[in-house]
């Protein structure tokens, strides 16, 4: 679109705004709904998928770890059955057992020891020097002596490095013996360490006191309440896996997947930041958002552009309509001038005829050889005077016509209406005379000025007077034009006492092309043009009529004030909507 277009009026601007808003609402609503529903559905199904996957993963590892622990216990029990407690304290025996164990099951077993009922390690094989170590006060010993087999929590113990113990109790010769083996912390840790998903997903194991049983990749301090709640939830609900999404200690929303290990002593926790776990979802959301924003920009741009174009087109067609209206008014004006012309032609023909006859008379006199005596010269003078008088009459008529025709442009001016009415009445006087109509005016002196087009108002009154004269052509009658001021308006009445307008026609007289005149005599545009002109001025035109009593047209035109111009634009704008 070219940029040199003139700015639109406020009416068209608000029209544009409304169209833009409407288009945007209509386009955005389904877009938001569809996008929202799809994203929501996708999000929930993706959550389910991720939860199921993580649940499965954790469950598998839980089983893995549990079976690892079980297997170690079985190994030690198997070993315990073959131990000869008599010879156990002899050097080399236990070392042989350990090497058998290590060759069969790998280096998971770090050391091996036998502890008697008093808590004294009677035999030991391993990298540490723990022979005859006293475990009577150790936690694990107290628990291990109570049951057939026992797996301890991770602790530092005498050696000062994290490890845990698998202990199996044996009774021999009325004495309780404990065979204990230390599990390589690193290889146990590896079981959990390899649970790594994404960037932030990792696993760790806690005991009931909230102490780490493995070394987590990311160091943090576990909150005891939360984990004890997990313990409670899992053991109460009988579920194998519990999945929760909550803020972690650093305020990052994270997924926690937990499962009980070691018969409820330990808790396997898998933790992953939600943003990481749902990164696919986030990607999808970002893509959707980008498309949404781009689409939104496209919609807004389209709406603005299209509405602008449409309103421009509407404005153009409004302007064209206005021009056409003006042309119709101009045509109507020509028609009413044509009607006038008939009257004027006759009016001008009479003095011309007189002049011709007087001139002829002078010729007659000259042929007779007159101008000899006083009387002949007197007759000459009289005839010449008569010709001058009639000439003046012609001049008056032509001047009346000229003054009417000169004001043909429809510029808006401020003027007093009385003069205009007088002018039109003078122009119609001759026609009225031949129609036997008594044409009178009753104008209030000093009427305030109105703002209107001179030629358009002339046309209105000419039309109304012509119509009245046509109606009373046969019968004669009176036609009174009055003007007075009333409540900031000028009230103009055109009242005749002609035959009146039948009720059936009364409602239609302002319709274009409605006429009761025979085909070819009237266009049916006169009153509709009057209506258009008065409406455009912000005035009203109304008709009252009674059969055989007469017809009165009542025109109200607002007195010129400062906001008249604004009124005009508003009216013309609303006109174009019709």
């Amino acid at each position: 679109m070219n940029r040199n277009l003139p700015p639109l009026s406020p009416y068209y601007r608000s029209l544009t705004r409304n169209m833009v808003l409407l288009v945007m609402v209509i386009s955005f609503t389904p877009m938001v709904l569809v996008t929202g529903i799809i994203l929501d559905q996708f999000s929930s199904s993706h959550h389910e998928k991720v939860f199921a996957h993580l649940g499965e993963l954790v469950l598998k590892h839980k089983q893995n770890i549990d079976s690892f622990l079980d297997e170690k216990v079985q190994n030690i029990r198997f070993l315990a059955d073959s131990i000869d407690f008599d010879r156990i304290s002899q050097p080399g025996i236990i070392a042989e057992d350990l090497s058998r164990l290590q060759s069969a099951y790998g280096t998971v077993f770090v050391d091996l020891g036998v502890v008697n009922e008093q808590g004294q390690q009677v035999a030991y094989a391993g990298p540490f020097n723990l022979e005859n170590a006293i475990y009577a006060d150790a936690d694990w010993f107290k628990k291990a002596i109570q049951s057939n087999y026992f797996t301890s929590d991770v602790f530092l113990g005498l050696r000062g490095s994290p490890h845990f113990i698998i202990a199996v109790r044996k009774t021999w010769q009325g004495q309780k013996w404990i065979i204990r083996a230390t599990i390589d912390f690193l290889s146990f840790n590896r079981l959990v360490e390899k649970v790594r998903i994404g960037e932030t997903g990792f696993a760790y194991i806690l005991n009931r006191e909230g102490q780490f049983q493995t070394k987590p990749i990311f160091d943090f301090t576990p909150t005891l309440d939360i984990y004890s709640r997990y313990f409670a939830t899992l053991s109460r609900m009988g579920k194998e896996v519990e999945i929760q999404e909550r803020l972690d200690g650093a305020g990052v929303k994270s997924l926690y997947v937990s499962a009980l290990l070691k018969g409820g002593d330990w808790l396997l926790v898998y933790k992953q930041a939600s943003s990481d776990a749902f990164s696919d979802l986030h990607n999808a959301q970002i893509i959707a958002l980008v498309f949404f924003v781009l689409g939104g920009i496209a919609i807004v741009a389209m709406a603005v552009w299209m509405s602008g174009r449409m309103v421009r087109r509407i404005a153009t067609s409004d302007k064209e309509k206005e021009i056409m209206n003006e042309q119709v008014i101009e045509t109507g004006k020509l028609a009413s001038v044509g009607e006038l012309a008939a009257g004027i032609a006759h009016e001008i023909n009479n003095p011309v005829a007189i002049m011709v006859e007087e001139a002829g008379w002078l010729q007659d006199l000259m042929e007779d050889g007159a101008y000899k005596n006083e009387a002949d010269i007197k007759e000459f003078e009289r005839a010449l005077n008569q010709i001058r008088t009639q000439g003046k009459r012609c001049k008056e008529i032509t001047h009346k016509l000229l003054s009417f025709a000169r004001k043909t442009d429809s510029r808006i001016e401020d003027f007093e209406i009385g003069h205009l009415i007088e002018e039109v009445v003078a122009l119609s006087a001759q026609r009225a005379k031949y129609s036997n109509v008594e044409l009178t005016t009753r104008l209030e002196p000093k009427l305030p000025a109105i703002s209107a087009s001179h030629s358009e108002l002339q046309q209105v009154f000419l039309n109304l007077i012509n119509n009245a004269l046509d109606a009373m052509d046969k019968t004669g009658g009176t036609l009174e034009i009055s003007a007075r001021q009333e409540e900031g308006q000028i009230l103009i009445g055109v009242a005749d006492n002609g035959p009146g307008i039948p009720k059936a026609n009364l409602a239609r007289i302002f319709d274009p092309f409605f006429t009761t005149k025979p085909v070819g005599s009237g266009t049916g545009l006169g009153l509709s043009i009057c209506y258009g002109i008065i409406q455009k001025m912000g005035g009203t035109i109304a008709v009252k009529s009674a059969l055989d009593v007469g017809t009165t047209f009542e025109i109200r035109i607002p007195v010129k004030t400062d906001d008249t111009v604004e009124n005009r634009t508003v009216v013309s704008a609303s006109d174009t909507c019709n």
């Binding site: 012309a341 005829a353 007659d364 005379k433």
Partner: protein, 143 residues
């Protein structure tokens, strides 16, 4: 002896006066009236008039109405209509209603005199026929 006795009917007084002078000079007996009503009254009062020259457009009783009245009340009087351009239709209507002819205003004097002469001749002819018919009737009655 005048060519004919005529009556000029027009609401324009100066026109009637000027015409009267010119027509009188051309051996016409001219009577005048300034409205249709006036003309009818004068026609009824004085039967000498042979031809009426009648303007079509007059305030009050217009040319056509006057013509109708004349044809009704003094049917033998011939009527020549005078008209401006804009009222040719009404002149034609006048012809239908029994006018002898119509002339455009302002009209050529010789043309007018010729028409008047024709009209007067016709009127006399009509009158003659009527007189002859009456004579025949009377003779027939005597016989």
């Amino acid at each position: 002896m005048a060519i004919a006795t005529i009556m000029l009917v027009d609401d324009e007084v100066p026109f009637v006066e000027a015409m009267t002078k010119r027509l009188t000079r051309r051996d016409l007996e001219v009577g005048t009236a300034f409205s249709g009503k006036d003309a009818l009254e004068k026609l009824l009062a004085d039967s000498k008039t042979e031809v009426v020259i009648l303007d079509v457009k007059m305030p009050g009783m217009d040319g056509i109405e006057t013509l109708q009245a004349i044809k009704r009340q003094v049917p033998l009087v011939e009527v020549i209509m005078l008209t401006g351009h804009a009222t040719v239709e009404s002149a034609i209507e006048g012809m239908k209603l029994g006018a002898f002819d119509y002339l455009m205003k302002p009209c050529d004097m010789d043309h007018l005199i010729a028409k008047v002469t024709e009209a007067a001749a016709r009127k006399r002819q009509h009158e003659e026929k009527i007189i002859n018919a009456r004579i025949k009737e009377i003779t027939a009655r005597r016989a």
